[in-house]
């Protein structure tokens, strides 16, 4: 169904705008999320300090990422975790498939992890003959619907309860109902059995603590606890940027993440997992494998402007605040990561060949920067990326137009020839139809302000 490409972003957006159901769902969801985040932030008098603190911690880690990663690895390994390094998505998938098949796994339970979506892990696992069960309710819904997530933290946000009910009836034989409690209960009951039968559990990681080798994973549903407690093998896929220096730093991030994401003070569960159990008779997996993923992240370290992309804690607040996302939703971006953060990391992770529209899909309003818990300056990043894209992908017409524009703007004489300037405006704005299809165009004044002043 929706495996749209970012190459056709504008067309995707137009289709999204024509989808009344989607727009209704988006409006409700982004408004609610936005309100809740705002209240949650306001409830902490030191909110701004926390943002500054969190950003400072991330800046420090990223500036010395190799050192902190090595510390994390040392500590995790000393506690019995096995660390694997994956240069790219294919390598990560290969490592995970090998681990799972080595365990003789037939059924794999998964909790929501954007990183596993990024690598298309499910496809690889299925190709290797395993059955993959998504256990997060939102992910379960889109798995049934054969769709991709449309929001970083609420994957099925684009679906109305009616659509979900119809889906459950069709796929699970559920008695038709739109009652949310019933729908949830159906999913709970259906998935219970899968947990019990699973050989391997796969999760993501919210934070990896260098000081102790601990991985921290947060959730509301309990499926992560089940995924990481029941099966004998736990595999955690972790982007290399997820490292934080000290155990005590989790306090700052646990104050920011739930509030920014859902407006909650804390999510229901936080799991702090450090290595494997000490005694065979203890509960929990026998094996813990942490797969560290690069996949383009290390490249982003090359400049302070791009490096801040790696500070992202995947809260989704920028999506909810973005006037563009609010109108078109996540699928139109054609990427695992939509919205403002998606518009900046997708081109950097995937290269600009097919993603060059994304950094332009913004009015640069700055609402995202305002809500970002780690103060990523997304508009600045967008401009930086636009600057990289224009020489390589900008149309010849546009490039020439701006060269000409600059000439005119540097010469008061040329500039004052207002007819010339006026026509140039038309050329830089190549399709005045693009304006006039929805809006009236203000006519160019017969006399410019320069003219009026001269005659004063």
């Amino acid at each position: 169904m929706n495996h749209l490409s970012s190459e056709t972003f504008r067309e995707n957006a137009k289709a999204a705008l024509a989808d009344a159901h989607l727009r209704g769902a988006l409006k409700n969801a982004t408004t609610l999320f936005g309100e809740r985040r705002k209240q949650a932030a306001a409830s902490l008098p030191n909110w701004e300090d926390l943002r500054t603190q969190a950003r400072a911690i991330k800046d420090e880690v990223l500036l010395h990422l190799d050192r902190y990663l090595e510390e994390f690895v040392r500590n995790a390994e000393s506690r019995g975790a096995k660390i694997h390094w994956a240069r790219d998505a294919a390598e990560a998938n290969s490592i995970i498939c090998t681990l799972a098949t080595g365990r003789g796994a037939r059924v794999v339970v998964k909790s929501k992890s954007m990183t596993t979506e990024e690598t298309h892990l499910n496809t690889a696992l299925e190709a290797a003959g395993m059955q993959v069960v998504e256990t997060d309710l939102g992910e379960y819904i889109i798995q049934l619907a054969e769709e991709t997530p449309s929001h970083i933290i609420a994957p099925a946000i684009h679906k109305t309860r009616r659509q979900i009910a119809d889906l459950f009836t069709a796929e699970l034989g559920m008695v038709p109902t739109e009652d949310v409690a019933q729908l949830t209960s159906t999913a709970r009951v259906t998935l219970r059995d899968r947990f019990a039968a699973a050989d391997v559990g796969i999760s993501g990681v919210n934070f990896g603590v260098a000081e102790t080798g601990t991985i921290v994973i947060v959730e509301n549903e309990g499926n992560i606890r089940l995924t990481t407690s029941l099966p004998r093998m736990h595999i955690a896929l972790m982007g290399i940027e997820k490292v934080i220096p000290r155990f005590s730093d989790t306090d700052v991030f646990l104050k920011l993440l739930p509030r920014s994401g859902t407006g909650q003070r804390l999510t229901t569960y936080q799991s702090f997992i450090t290595g494997i159990k000490r005694r065979a008779t203890d509960e929990g997996p026998e094996e813990l494998h942490i797969v560290l993923l690069d996949n383009g992240r290390s490249r982003m370290l090359a400049h302070p402007v791009t490096r801040q992309s790696l500070a992202c804690i995947r809260c989704g607040a920028c999506l909810n605040a973005c006037p563009v996302y609010q109108q078109i939703g996540g699928h139109a971006y054609g990427s695992v990561y939509p919205g403002p953060i998606g518009a900046v990391i997708t081109p950097q992770l995937m290269g600009i060949e097919k993603t060059s529209q994304l950094p332009y899909a913004s009015s640069l309003c700055g609402a995202c920067r305002e809500v970002c818990p780690v103060k990523i300056d997304i508009p600045r990043l967008l401009l930086h990326l636009r600057g990289e894209i224009t020489p390589r992908k900008g149309s010849l017409g546009e490039r020439l137009a701006f060269k000409l524009w600059a000439r005119v703007m540097m010469s008061p004489t040329l500039y004052k020839m207002s007819a010339v300037a006026g026509r140039l405006v038309q050329r830089i704005v190549p399709l005045s139809r693009a304006w006039t299809s929805g809006r009236d165009l203000r006519p160019i004044e017969a006399r410019s302000f320069h003219d009026l002043w001269t005659n004063e």
Binding site: D59, L63, T135, A156, T184, R192, G222, T250, L266
Partner: protein, 215 residues
């Protein structure tokens, strides 16, 4: 394991950071200052109770754990009870004199799905958020606190800490951080369907917290 990949990634990190050096400021790692939470005049226990209740969980403050347990289990009409390996839990439960059809002490992964209620203690709690801290090094309660639809957790009043940061400090003061520490704040929930709150997804649907003031 796969040293080539390790060296490649670390090498890539280092070379890209080196490229960035001409543009960088150095950032001093800021020491996190705990901003004091200005509590109202109520006690830690009261604050804890308020916050537990604010996340749709029940909180009973008592000096008689047995009595509290008896009431809860009787109200639930629960028959099949799973308990952790904390010796007190079994003792309190037996003292309730309730008829129990099936009692499981740390049931295994297959069996654990066959119980109505799970009873454990918590090693600590956090007042500012209404959170329970379960430390797997001290008690086998991982599945008992997770799988049965109802979780009853008993925590000593003296183990309630004020802030999350206090709890993290406590965890780090042990010899080594245990393999699994779980923070629990309320029963399981989701808002994945139209952002409508639904309580009870994969984790317990109900959470009872008994604060034991007798120790």
């Amino acid at each position: 394991m796969n040293n080539t990949a390790r060296e490649a990634i670390l090498g890539s990190i280092r070379s890209h950071l080196a490229a960035s050096a001409p543009y960088d400021d150095q950032h001093e790692l800021l020491v996190h200052h705990e901003h004091p939470v200005i509590l109202s005049k109520i006690s830690l226990v009261e604050l804890f109770k308020q916050n537990v209740e604010s996340v749709n969980a029940h909180c009973i403050i008592t000096t008689d754990v047995t009595d509290a347990l008896r009431q809860i289990i009787a109200d639930l009409k629960a028959r099949r009870i799973a308990i952790s390996d904390d010796a007190n839990v079994e003792r309190w439960l037996r003292l309730t004199d309730l008829e129990i059809e099936k009692l499981g002490v740390v049931p295994d992964a297959q069996d654990i799905f066959r119980f109505d209620v799970g009873i454990t203690t918590a090693q600590a709690a956090i007042a500012e958020t209404g959170t329970l801290v379960l430390d797997s090094a001290h008690e086998r309660h991982r599945l008992v606190s997770l799988v049965p639809p109802v979780h009853i957790a008993i925590v000593a009043a003296s183990r309630i800490r004020e802030t999350l940061s206090d709890a993290l400090t406590l965890l780090q003061n042990t010899r080594e951080i245990s393999p699994t520490v779980t923070f629990i704040t309320g029963p399981s929930r989701t808002a994945d369907i139209e952002l409508t709150l639904a309580i009870g997804v994969h984790g317990p649907q109900e959470l009872y917290v008994i604060v034991n003031e007798s120790t």
